[in-house]
């Protein structure tokens, strides 16, 4: 929690600003709807760390995917992720985005979220507790400091594979590719 050190602010205002004012777009699929409200309300106040829920992806820089991802939701998640401005971080919440979790054999949920959009951090647990969200936020701080939270750069470089995976899982996507994919049939 080096929010107070003026020296760091002057050296890297961009990094510090990213760290201490996460504007979250939370996608409350499945279990997320029950653990996010306690974190942003009185008991576990997330606003202490500058984490505020925000309405549209345009304003956000942290994308919290809470709970299992069904095929129809994946389309909305990719759409929201591509609409977020660039220094953006994603955190998978619960064991279902990691490897399918409780619904590993369901025909309608995707198993590894990492194949479709880059994910910087995971929170394990089937319904993780609000404290684990804060641990994830603090880990994200250290990753930003060390420059490891580079999901969005990976997305830009390897967009071709991501786009192929997405189309393989979802069939045709209505919106044009974000970055020039450059293959013939486009």
């Amino acid at each position: 929690m080096d929010r107070g050190s003026i020296k760091k602010w002057l050296k890297a205002p961009g990094k510090m600003g990213q760290k201490y004012s996460f504007w979250v777009v939370y996608f409350c699929t499945g279990c997320g709807i029950i653990e996010i409200p306690p974190t942003i309300t009185s008991r576990w106040d997330a606003e202490r760390f500058g984490v505020i829920p925000v309405a549209t992806p345009r304003q956000a820089n942290l994308f919290l995917i809470t709970g299992y991802v069904s095929v129809k939701t994946l389309r909305a998640i990719i759409r929201t992720y591509e609409q977020m401005p660039d220094p953006k971080y994603t955190v998978g919440f619960g064991s279902c985005p990691i490897n399918g979790g409780m619904y590993w054999d369901s025909y309608n949920t995707i198993k590894h979220l990492d194949k479709y959009i880059p994910v910087d951090g995971w929170i394990a647990g089937c319904m993780p507790r609000p404290e684990s969200i804060f641990i994830a936020v603090t880990h994200l701080w250290t990753m930003i400091d060390k420059g490891m939270a580079t999901g969005y750069i990976k997305y830009r470089e390897k967009y071709k594979n991501y786009r192929k995976n997405q189309e393989e899982a979802l069939g045709k996507l209505e919106w044009p590719p974000l970055y020039p994919v450059g293959d013939k049939n486009e």
Binding site: F27, T56, A76, R79, Q83
Partner: protein, 618 residues
């Protein structure tokens, strides 16, 4: 000598244009532009000369038609000539595919000449002649498009004939009591007239000019006339032709009756000026909020025309030097903004095939940026955003209203401004902003001849907004001619003793603040250009074509204000027409068609005459 040349050039010009039109379109267009340009130059040259020529004396009524030029007439003449020239220039491309184009150009120049005649005439006879020329020319031009336009024209001509009859009645009574119709002589003769007679005269002239200037109870013809007339002509109609009523007000109230007499009319609060102010205030509020409910862009602008007319009447009604100057300046300002907005609507109509409905258009800024900038300048002029021209005139009107201790009138004017803001933003948003529909994908920008008038008028709005001194110098000349102590104005605002308005400071600070903010803006991280489909739609893809919020834009406000804004006056007139039709029905029964009933009528009439003669004899 010069005034006659102006009139001759404009009238003959109209004839020449019509004749050249017979054999080749190109020549006709060029000659029309040249004629209107010539008129502008001639009027511009005759700047501050005082000329009085009487050019024709009637043999029988020992009256003579005479022309004169002073600051007031020059001020209106230059507006008429300027707007006339620009609308001719605009309609070159606009009218190309209409039929009867030669007739259109002839009528436009003819109406312009009529207006010049009104402004330059020095006595009531020539004033009335040119007035009638203008009214009938306007009737023909309004019903130029046919269909609904004929009904609108009919409505217009009935009301303006009624107005001019009232005016004729007053002119005849003037001639009967004083034998002369010259303005200067009448001014001196009326000083000794009884207040009751002056009040009667003023009332008649107010009705005559009120119909033309569309004050509240006499305004019902204007929305239909503007909506149905051809766009370039409705620009002239709203900018200049309707302001002839304002010229008439100024002529009667200040140059002929004079300020001192006006204050003696009526007792205490109920004097003529105060009632005129209240009529002006109502004319501001009600039409501006009815404009909020309109869905047709031309009708919306027409209602604004009436609303802004209310400001002018309010300015003049207050009868202080600042108020009169504000009223006159607002006439110029609205002439510029109103004409510009009608040109913008004309450009949109030209490009989208005659679509005027605000619920059909959208997103045209991507295809027609110049028209958008002109529209933006027009609406900020109409609202009175600081650094635009009508801000200065509105500021003067508010200042006098507050200083003269009329807070409720000032409130009516302020609420009128807010009504303008709402409805005018809806106008801009529904046409230019939002999603571009499929069918307007390949709409191109309007050709150059339509862009020049728009750009010129936008520059005029900004110029007069920053340097109001230019028009105000002429207006102080006008006030000297009225005998009111003139307004001492600096080039860019008001001096200390009148109030604090220093537009150059506001401009400088705005520029500095704008530059500083732009620096902050460009220093921060770059932004990626995105088209209209890459939009937030709650995680889904944007439904093409179905993602524009423009139908019933201020829905909740409509529900609250709507029921009160039903046009009561219009219904009253239609009720009147209905009643008179049924009564004329009864009268028509007399003509039964066979001869003996007519013989019977003659017989009865004769007996009546004899009987009256006998009665008289006793």
């Amino acid at each position: 000598m010069q005034l006659i040349t102006i009139l001759v050039v404009s009238f003959l010009g109209a004839g020449i244009v019509y004749l050249t039109g017979k054999f080749s379109g190109r020549v006709r267009d060029i000659s029309a532009v040249l004629v209107s340009l010539a008129v502008v130059i001639l009027v511009g040259l005759a700047y501050n000369q005082k000329i009085y020529t009487n050019f024709y004396s009637l043999p029988f009524l020992n009256l003579s038609l005479s022309l004169r030029l002073n600051y007031l007439s020059w001020f209106f003449a230059i507006i008429v000539a300027g707007i006339g020239f620009l609308s001719i220039l605009f309609s070159l491309e606009y009218i190309k595919d209409y039929q009867g184009v030669g007739f259109y150009y002839f009528m436009m120049l003819f109406v312009n000449a009529g207006m010049l005649g009104i402004v330059l005439s020095a006595d009531f006879l020539s004033f009335y002649i040119f007035w009638e020329m203008m009214s009938w020319g306007t009737y023909l031009l309004i019903s130029y498009k046919g269909g609904k336009a004929v009904a609108a024209g009919l409505k217009y001509i009935i009301m303006s004939v009624a107005g001019s009859l009232a005016m004729l009645f007053a002119i005849v009574s003037l001639y009967a009591s004083y034998g002369t119709l010259k303005f200067s002589s009448l001014a001196s003769l009326l000083q000794i007239a009884s207040p009751g007679y002056i009040l009667f005269l003023l009332l008649m002239f107010v009705v005559g000019f009120g119909v033309k200037n569309a004050i509240w109870t006499l305004h019902t013809w204007l929305p239909d006339a503007h909506a149905e007339a051809v766009s370039p002509f409705s620009a002239v109609l709203t900018g200049v032709l309707v302001r002839m009523g304002m010229y008439g007000f100024l002529l009667i109230m200040y140059s002929i009756v004079g300020l001192s007499l006006l204050h003696k009319l009526g007792y205490g609060l109920l004097n003529f000026n105060y009632i005129l102010c209240w009529i002006g205030a109502i004319t501001i509020v009600i039409p501006t909020f009815t404009a909020l409910l309109q869905n047709d862009s031309k009708r919306l602008l027409a209602w604004h025309g009436i609303g802004q007319g209310g400001y002018m009447v309010l300015g003049i009604g207050v009868a202080t030097s600042l108020g009169i100057a504000g009223g006159i300046l607002h006439t110029l300002n609205y002439a510029v903004c109103g004409a510009l907005l009608f040109f913008v609507v004309g450009a949109i109509e030209h490009r989208t095939g005659g679509v005027r409905d605000l619920n059909e258009l959208g997103g045209l800024i991507k295809r027609m940026p110049v028209t958008f900038i002109a529209g933006l300048a027009g609406i900020s002029g109409l609202i009175g955003v600081p650094l635009t021209n009508s801000f200065v005139s509105k500021w003067m009107i508010y200042k006098t209203l507050i200083m003269e201790n009329y807070p409720f009138l000032a409130f009516a004017a302020f609420i009128g401004t807010w009504g303008t803001i709402l409805s005018v933003y809806k106008f801009l948003h529904n046409i230019f902003l939002g999603q571009l529909p499929e069918k307007y994908k390949d709409v191109k920008e309007v050709p150059l001849t339509m862009q020049i008038p728009m750009i010129l008028l936008s520059l005029a709005i900004i110029l007069f907004g920053i340097l109001p001194g230019i028009p105000l110098k002429v207006i102080s000349g006008i006030e000297k001619s009225f005998g009111v102590e003139p307004l001492s104005t600096t080039m860019f605002g008001m001096p200390k003793e009148i109030g604090e308005l220093n537009l150059i400071n506001i401009l400088a600070v705005l520029l500095v603040a704008g530059i500083v903010v732009y620096l902050i803006f460009s220093l921060s991280a770059k932004s990626r250009r995105v088209n209209q489909d890459d939009n937030y739609a709650a995680g889904l893809f944007v439904p093409r074509g179905k993602y524009q919020y423009s139908a019933r834009f201020y829905d909740q406000a409509y529900r609250i204000i709507g029921p009160y804004l039903h046009d009561v006056v219009d219904d009253f007139y239609y009720w009147l027409v209905g009643k008179s039709k049924s009564s004329f029905q009864i009268v028509r029964q007399i003509y039964t068609g066979n001869i003996n009933t007519y013989a019977l009528y003659i017989l009865l009439f004769l007996t009546l005459l004899i009987f009256v003669k006998l009665g008289w004899g006793l």
